[in-house]
Point group: C2
C-alpha cells in the first residue's frame, strides 16, 4: 500500500425531504447566491423547495450554467459575487453547476490576475464558502475538491483541485433524480463507473480493501444502473446510484493505490473540441485504453474480469478473459444507451491530430499510472476509438 | 436505504515515518499532554520518535492508561489538564489510550458536576482538541466520535459519543504495529471484524454498496489477520489490517443501514465484571447471537455465508448454511488464538444473573436492530456462551 493523507470534511445529508434543512447549514447573515443550470430545477420542484427553505434569507439567483460549465459564464457569476457581497454560494443542480460554483468560489477571491490561471495550477488562498443540493449523481463533486471548467474561446477543458472548495455540506435527496432524462441518468452511471476504474485499473499494490470497495461500487452500478432506466421512480435504486457516485470520487478508494486518469484527460479534450457529453467520451476511451495497456494492466484487468464480471479466466485463458472484460464493459455502456465509438458521434480520423496537439499544449504528454501514455500512444488510442 | 447524515473530518496520515510530521498538526503555542499506556511505546521506539518530533514544544507526559481505560485514571489526567493549562491532547497508543483521551478532553471542560455523567448521556459542549498516533489497529477510535470507559468502583463499562472528540488528526504508521504481542494483534482483528458485523448482520435494507464494503473489510481481515501472526513484519499485511480497522468503525459502512450493537453491549459488561479482553468477549458473544437471532437475521446471515465464506447455500440448505457460517466465524476467531466460550475463561452459569442485572441497570433492556434482545434473550445468549 502506498502512503497517503486523507481528510474529507464534507457533511452529507442524505434522504427524502432533506432540502428543507438547507437553511440550518448556511450562516444566517450571509447573502446567498443560488446557482443553477438550464432550469430543470424549476420543472421538478427543487427550485421552489429551496426558495421555500431559505425564506427570510437574502438570496440572489444566478441561472444558466451550462453542461461542461464555461469560464465565461462562471466569470459573469464572479462579478455578481463581488458586486453583491455574496457570503455563501449554494449550488443547486448536478456536477456542472457545482464545478462552476467551486471555480466561482475560488475566482471571486483570486487577486493575482485572470482567474483562468487557476486552471493551470495558480495557487488559491481563499474561497467563498459553498454548499450543494445535488440533483444528478455522476461527478462526485459533492464530496471532493475537484472542478472541471471549459473555456469556449480556446476550446479548453481543464480541472483544478483545492481543499478550499470542499462543499461545507451536500444535500442528496434521491427523489430529485426521478425526473432526470434517461441520457443524464445513463451518463451519470458511466461517469461514476469510470471514476472507479481510474482508481482501480492500474497495477496491484497489495491494497485488497481498496480493491474490494472499488469492485463493490462497480458491481452495484452494474446492477442498479439499468434499473434506473426501466423504473426511474424506484427510491432505493436512485439512492444506491447516488451513494455509489459520491463514493466513486470522494477520493477514499484512491487512497494508498496508484491511479490512471488518462481516460478523463483525453475525454475532456474530446468534449472541449467536439461537444460530446463527458460520459460519452469516457465510454469511448476507457475500453480502448484497457486494450492498448493490456500488458501493464494485466493483473488488475484479470481481477476485474473475475470479480466484477465473474469471468472464468482459468477456463478462458488470459487474453480471452481480457477481451471478454473489455467487451462486457463496452456492452454495459451501450446497454445504458451510451455509444462507445467516436464514429457514433460523427468524429473521424481527421480530428485526431488537433486533440493530441491540445493535450500536448496542456503538458499532458505522460499520462497513466506509469506516465507512459504520450502523444504516440494517445494517437493509437484515438485511432482505435474510431 | 435509510436516511443519514455523515460528516467525518478526521485527517488520516498513513504510512511509514509519518510520526515525524506530528508537530505540524498541533498548534505551536499549545502545551501538549502526551498520553500513553503501559509503556510499550517506550520499548518500540514510538515514544522517542514522538518526543523528537515535538522538540521545542511544551510537552507534559501522562502514562499508565490501562487497557479498558478507567474513569479513575482518566480523572487524574483531567486534573493535569486543568492545572497545567493543557491546550492539546496527544494520544500515543491504541484504542484504550485514545478512548481515555477523548473522555479526558470532554471531562476537562465539563462543568455540570461529576464528568462520569457524560457516560450516561449528559451533553457536552466543549472539549480540549486532540490528536492521535495509533499503534494498535482495532477500535477505529482514530476516526470516530466514540469512547468506551470503565469505572472500577462500580464495575461499569460504558460508552459516549460526540463530534467534539473527533481527533483533529490520526497518524497511522503500520510499522509501529510490528512489535505488538500476538494476543493484541489477534484481538484487534476480532474487534474490527465484529464492528463490521454489527453494522452488517441485521436485515436487508437494499443498500448493496454498504453491504459490499462491509463484506470487503471482513474478507480482507480473514485473509490478512492470520498473516500478521505468522509474519508480523510484513508491511502490507499490517497496513491492510490497520486500514480495515479504521474503516470498520469510521461510521461509513453503517450509513443508511440498521445496526445491532448487542454483542458489544453484552461484551462490555463481561469485561467490566470479569476482566476479559474486549475482543475475547466479542468472540464469545457474536456467534451465539447469530444462532439465537438466526430467523430475524436469516437473509443477511445467508448473504454473509455465501459472499464472505463462499458457502454454497443452494447445495447445503439454509439451516446448514447458517450453521456453517457460524462455525466458520468461531473457527476464524479460534485460529487467531481468541477463545470463544465463557468457560474458556473460567466463567460459569453463576455469573450470568449479575451481568443481566447490570445491563438492566444501564437501561439495556431492548438491544438489537429490532430492540427485541431483552433480559430473557440475553440470559439465553449467555447460557449458550458457556
Amino acid at each position: 500500500m502506498l502512503d497517503f493523507t486523507y481528510q474529507n470534511p464534507v457533511k452529507i445529508i442524505f434522504g427524502k425531504e432533506k432540502i428543507q434543512d438547507v437553511a440550518g447549514e448556511i450562516p444566517p447573515d450571509a447573502t446567498v447566491l443560488l446557482l443553477y443550470g438550464q432550469g430543470s430545477i424549476k420543472k421538478n420542484g427543487v427550485h421552489a423547495l429551496t426558495i421555500e427553505a431559505l425564506a427570510g434569507r437574502r438570496v440572489i439567483e444566478f441561472g444558466g450554467i451550462e453542461p461542461n460549465p464555461s469560464y465565461e459564464t462562471a466569470m459573469a457569476a464572479v462579478n455578481v459575487v463581488r458586486e453583491k457581497g455574496i457570503g455563501f454560494l449554494l449550488s443547486v443542480g448536478g456536477g456542472s453547476v457545482l464545478d462552476a460554483t467551486k471555480f466561482i468560489a475560488a475566482a471571486a477571491r483570486f487577486e493575482d490576475g485572470d482567474p483562468w490561471q487557476i486552471m493551470s495550477g495558480a495557487p488559491i488562498h481563499d474561497a467563498v464558502p459553498l454548499g450543494a443540493i445535488l440533483t444528478l449523481p455522476a461527478t462526485g463533486s459533492e464530496m471532493n475538491t475537484n472542478a472541471v471548467i471549459s473555456r469556449k474561446s480556446s476550446a479548453d477543458k481543464l480541472y483544478f483541485s483545492s481543499p478550499l472548495v470542499y462543499p461545507r455540506f451536500s444535500i442528496l435527496d434521491p427523489t430529485t433524480t426521478y425526473s432526470l432524462p434517461p441520457r443524464q441518468t445513463a451518463n451519470g452511471v458511466v461517469d461514476a463507473f469510470v471514476h472507479v476504474m481510474e482508481q482501480y485499473l492500474t497495477w496491484p499494490s497489495d491494497a485488497p480493501l481498496q480493491d474490494r470497495m472499488a469492485e463493490g461500487i462497480l458491481q452495484t452500478l452494474i446492477e442498479e444502473g439499468p434499473k434506473a432506466l426501466t423504473d426511474p421512480h424506484d427510491y432505493n435504486v436512485r439512492a444506491n446510484i447516488m451513494w455509489c457516485a459520491t463514493l466513486a470520487l470522494n477520493d477514499l478508494i484512491g487512497q494508498g493505490v496508484p491511479e490512471d486518469w488518462s481516460t478523463h484527460m483525453i475525454g475532456h479534450q474530446i468534449t472541449a473540441m467536439h461537444g460530446l457529453d463527458h460520459a460519452q467520451t469516457l465510454a469511448i476511451v476507457l475500453p480502448v485504453i484497457m486494450d492498448v495497456k493490456r500488458d501493464k494492466k494485466r493483473e488488475k484487468i484479470l481481477q476485474y474480469a473475475e470479480r466484477v464480471w465473474k469471468i472464468d479466466s482459468a477456463a478462458l485463458g488470459e487474453e480471452k478473459t481480457i477481451d471478454s472484460a473489455m467487451a462486457k464493459t463496452r456492452e454495459f455502456f451501450e446497454t445504458l444507451g451510451v455509444r462507445t465509438r467516436l464514429g457514433d458521434y460523427g468524429i473521424n480520423a481527421a480530428s485526431i491530430p488537433a486533440i493530441i496537439e491540445k493535450l500536448q499544449e496542456h503538458g499532458m504528454t505522460a499520462l497513466g499510472e506509469h506516465a507512459d501514455i504520450g502523444p504516440d500512444t494517445i494517437r493509437e488510442i484515438l485511432e482505435r476509438c474510431l
